[in-house]
């Protein structure tokens, strides 16, 4: 029995509206044209903890500034990239074309940043990384519209290489996941380490069990190991390292492995292990003291470097907007304002290089149990002072 023409028409209209309406979802009646920031973070899947820290740091700053950036009412639209490049691109296009954001910020992971940078920068929308710092964006692929409120990836690994060199370690085993960032980590470490790399062990991304690798390390008895195991992998490795009885015996040097996102899970197993970073909760600046206290009060946990970078990213935008009187429309003026880094970083010394990456200090940090029972990293020693990244020379921007 055929449906009546009217019913068909209604159904047709309903179905096509469903498709079109979700896509359109017109921005709700524009109020006094607020500044709009699209914040891209990884909020689902195993590494969600990092994304939550970064987002919370950013939102904390906006809240402290009374919901305003540069004195302007600000709307922050947070989207979850699901750690899938194609999803991230689609959502970022929505931010730019549907929500008409002035600035895109965020990105925990390099692959997400590399996927979204092309459409964002081609659209001449400002892109501010609060964590990821892949080398192409620092070198040949640098852009006047891109700024990093974090670091260039290699730098953190180099910190540990320099530390191993300074300590006089002769034989080191490197262990990282088998993907580009892992290979970059090894390259970054080796740039400043001149001793012998006994073995380079590549593990599976998301690996659960490290027993085979730990047995190898135990048998080889190196002076130290260096590892880069972000997120859950790091938790697995640290727990198993301690259980294998290696924690007290072979120094554990790392990057993005020991931080406040994983310490609540690893706890005592991680105490005493080392990491490279450009920040730690006990870094002695007035801005940092205030930030850490406010973050702990707001969220009840110790902030990580991801949170600190998120916070700095918001403060950077705030400072630049103040300089331009709240306007992003004059792109050259806003760019100049950003480039002058017009804010007090929680990290202390902070300025931008010609490629939009920071010039800043780097430290070796150590995991400790604080007197209040919480676990955090603490500054052990400064390794680099006012360091620039290694790719800036390849960047044509002046």
């Amino acid at each position: 029995m055929p449906a009546s023409p009217t019913r068909r028409l209604v159904a047709l209209a309903l179905a096509s509206t469903a498709l079109a309406a979700t896509a359109l979802a017109a921005p709700a009646a524009a109020l006094a044209d607020p500044v709009k920031v699209g914040f891209v973070s990884t909020l689902s899947g195993p590494p969600a903890a990092l994304g939550v820290h970064m987002r919370d740091g950013f939102l904390l700053a906006v809240k402290e500034l009374g919901g305003k950036l540069g004195g302007q009412p600000t709307e922050v639209i947070v989207v979850d990239d699901e750690l899938k490049p194609d999803v991230a691109v689609s959502k970022v296009k929505a931010l730019m074309e549907r929500d008409k954001v002035d600035i895109v910020a965020g990105t925990v992971f390099s692959n997400v940043l590399m996927a979204i940078q092309k459409p964002v920068l081609a659209n001449e929308t400002f892109l501010i990384s609060a964590n990821a710092g892949p080398s192409p964006l620092a070198g040949k692929g640098c852009s006047p519209f891109f700024f990093s409120a974090s670091y260039q990836n290699d730098q953190v690994h180099s910190v540990m290489g320099q530390y191993a060199q300074d300590k006089g370690f002769k034989r080191v085993i490197l262990i990282t996941p088998n993907y580009q960032a892992g290979k970059d980590a090894m390259a970054g470490f080796k740039r400043n380490f001149k001793g012998e790399v006994v073995e380079e062990i590549f593990t599976q991304l998301g690996q659960l069990d490290f027993s085979a690798e730990l047995a190898k390390i135990q048998a080889a008895k190196p002076d130290a190991i260096f590892t880069f195991m972000p997120g859950g992998m790091g938790v697995n490795l640290v727990k198993q390292y301690q259980q294998a009885g290696l924690a007290g015996q072979i120094p554990f040097l790392s990057s993005f492995t020991i931080d406040e996102t994983t310490l609540p899970a690893t706890q005592d197993a991680a105490v005493g292990l080392l990491s490279g970073a450009e920040w730690a909760p006990n870094l002695d600046t007035p801005q940092n003291k205030a930030f850490v206290a406010a973050y702990e009060k707001e969220y009840g946990i110790v902030p990580s470097l991801y949170a600190a970078q998120g916070y700095d990213a918001a403060m950077l935008i705030d400072g630049a907007l103040k300089a331009t009187g709240g306007k992003v429309s004059d792109k050259e003026a806003f760019r100049k304002a950003l480039a002058s880094a017009p804010f007090k970083s929680v990290r202390g010394d902070f300025s931008f290089n010609t490629n939009g990456f920071p010039i800043q200090d780097f430290y070796v940090v150590k995991a400790v149990k604080r007197p209040d029972g919480r676990y955090a990293t603490e500054i052990q020693s400064k390794v680099f002072d006012n360091a620039a990244d290694a790719y800036v020379a390849e960047c044509p921007l002046k």
Binding site: A3, A11, S16, A115, N178
Partner: protein
Amino acid sequence: MSARAAGGGAGFAFLFRPAVLIALFALALAVAVWSGSGYAPTIIARTAILALAAVSLSFLIGQAGLVSFGHAAPLGIGAYAVLIAGEYGVTNALVLFPLGFAAAALWSAATGVIALRTRGVYFIMITLAFAQMLFYVAGSLSAFGGDDGLGIAARATFFGQRFLRTDTDLAVFAIAALGVTLLVLERLSAAPFGLMLRTGRANEEKLASLGLDPFVHRLVALAAAGGIAGIAGVLLANQVEYVSPATMNWHVSGELIVMVVLGGTKRLGGAVLGAVAVMVIDETLGHFTEFWKFGLGLVILGAVLLRGADLTQLIRGTAHG
């Protein structure tokens, strides 16, 4: 058989017809362009591309009874064809589309020769195994970005002509591809070829007792579905302008199955509606809460438990109730 597979049915069943579906897409796109939205064409293009991949999987599941849990692999192959050809300076669509189709079809046929030895759950798992292997291989291609992936050089061209400049161009192209595919696969399903697949699905022993071993038919179906997924991959790479192994992750295979089953496997159009439903849920719930997958899970669970089983029946149910 073909009579019930292709047409008929009361109420809202006409929604499953290829012509109606394509008209809906075209209408949505026209509304989007008319309203001046920059983003709507993007999401319409994306929906059409995913629907294309889902339709090819629906052909495998619904007609041949081959539940592939590795359909992300040919999708990814299509995407990588664009990336790799682009690295060698090839961006001509007349090369890219046939290349993506052929490479993906070849993969599906080659793995199919082994996978078709198994049945049921074993088939599900062996297709997953092959896709996972490819996922790891893609992650190790340092020249093409390894696990991070790489941006493509440029969108496909037609002898130097940039015909996919905007996402609206891409949406038009994707909708056309979806329409052609629906048409071809419907003909294929109604033809003796599809009849043999369906009989083999319903009753393999009977088919054998009639003297037909459907192995070659199934292999051809696998290759064709793989090739179409490859085309979807080519389009996806052009839309995102970025290719990474994440496209081949088993989650993607799982999402494609969700689209197909949610829309119902009896009609190929069901997969299109399933893809639209998943995109709509994603786009709406995703804006309200970071826990939007909780809602998606509830919708899926509810759809199955409430005896709806698929949207086809759900729509019919409401239409009659």
